[in-house]
Amino acid sequence: MASKHLTAALRRTSPFRSFSTAAATTAHPPPAAEPYDDGEGISMKGVKIAGRPLYLDMQATSPLDPRVHDAMLPYNLSRYGNPHSRTHLYGWESDAAVEAARAQVASLINASPKEIVFTSGATEANNISVKGVMNFYKDKKRHVITTQTEHKCVLDSCRHLQQQGFDVTYLPVGPDGLVDLDQLRSAVRSNTGLVSVMMVNNEIGVIQPMEEIGKICKEFNVPLHTDAAQALGKIPIDVEKMNVSLMSLSGHKIYGPKGVGALYMRRRPRIRVEPQMNGGGQERGIRSGTVPTPLVVGMGAACELAMREMEYDERRINKLQERLLNGIRARLDGVVVNGSTERRYVGNLNLSFAYVEGESLLMGLKEVAVSSGSACTSASLEPSYVLRALGVDEDMAHTSIRFGIGRFTTEAEIDRAIELTVNQVEKLREMSPLYEMVKEGIDIKSIQWTQH
């Protein structure tokens, strides 16, 4: 009923700018903050494009699924209570929603709801896991094992531990991105307190052999932590089969809201951590602070959706990835896929284009929202440490592009992305004297460059 009135009102009046508070507070928006030209495309940071780019960066973040948004809205509007208020309806209904969401998250990973702690994201969950576990067991356990391709938050936490006097082993990975199980086995010591290996890598999409790693950790009785931010809802996760003690989960990678995540902490055998956020003892003392009900409800809804849609999405995204790779390979040579082709998540395609300069390739791809190998790690132009760990040459690392395909990607978008990428690469290669030499048959590596 109310919706009928609203839609009728929509048809009567044109753009709702007078109702938007943002427009109300700034009568004349400052020129720097207002990038949009009216209806004529977008001009921002010196680039002019006709419309909003097509989004192929699902590893950075994902759009909010409308069904998730619908679940969140009541908790932003009328059900705004604090879930820790025990004395009135607002608190009770909010708490019920948080507990329902907790059960939804737990069922996706085959865990019990009592083992889920809500955090502000996977980064916080990683911090609690790495620093919290080692600080709790610091008298007996002084050694951590991790890999060179972990997410920055894990590597940075390990560096922090090193400064505190702990030992850290950074396991190298093979050229396919996978951890060597024998090297892992030989790295475990009697005082190893934690092994941390991410399930699906965010840059190259490689899936680590978690079950085998879990077996090794069980054999040596070492807790296993995994960063499953990119894996949740995309590949089947079973904490029992993988023998995982701690798992970091993120909301905004599975079409949920940003600013929420969860930490799975095993109860049998119990793993204990030193809390990184002190306060009123919420979330069983592990993470104090008011639990953000709308965000948590969103994450729960996203997890439930992921459980229902996982098979359908995976089939579709697999077809789209094949279409993308075959489409590019059909028209270009010198295309290398970074990371293992067998053990990879289908929605992540990291390609390097030989004889092309990375920054100029990205500058020409403004109508496609993709990420390059270096951009997501630092603000500098240093090539990505993940690609370096794979042993990729620096020039190939600079030209890497990461295509992220998701639930909402269409075939038409893939075709357009192929066209734009191929055109840009061909244009750049035509201009490149290096490519001319390669076509003539000269081996670039054997050239003696004269020094001036």
Partner: protein, 92 residues
């Protein structure tokens, strides 16, 4: 005791299908619009041969609740639709 809800007739199912497709067309966002249309068609196609009446009733009521969600979200999205459209919608 399971409630004796009669399974939906063919015309009801078709009406639900058409309503979902009509609602999906109204989404302001290109990706969500295409997804809703595609998912509706695939879901109905997958459930076409359901024989167990309780499964049919469950699928139908799930479809109806999804229709309500879609109707609400169409309104919310249209309130905040960006002025500039996706490059996929602009004539190439």
């Amino acid at each position: 005791m399971t409630s004796a809800v009669p399974p939906p007739v063919r015309s009801e199912v078709l009406l639900l299908f058409r309503s979902l497709l009509r609602t999906s067309r109204e989404f302001a966002d290109y990706n969500i619009r295409e997804y809703t249309k595609r998912r509706t068609i695939d879901a109905f196609r997958q459930n076409r041969d359901l024989s167990d009446p309780s499964a049919v009733v469950a699928a139908f009521s799930d479809g109806k609740s999804q229709l309500e969600v879609a109707r609400r979200q169409v309104i919310v999205h249209s309130l905040y639709a960006p002025k500039v459209k996706s490059v996929m919608e602009i004539k190439h």
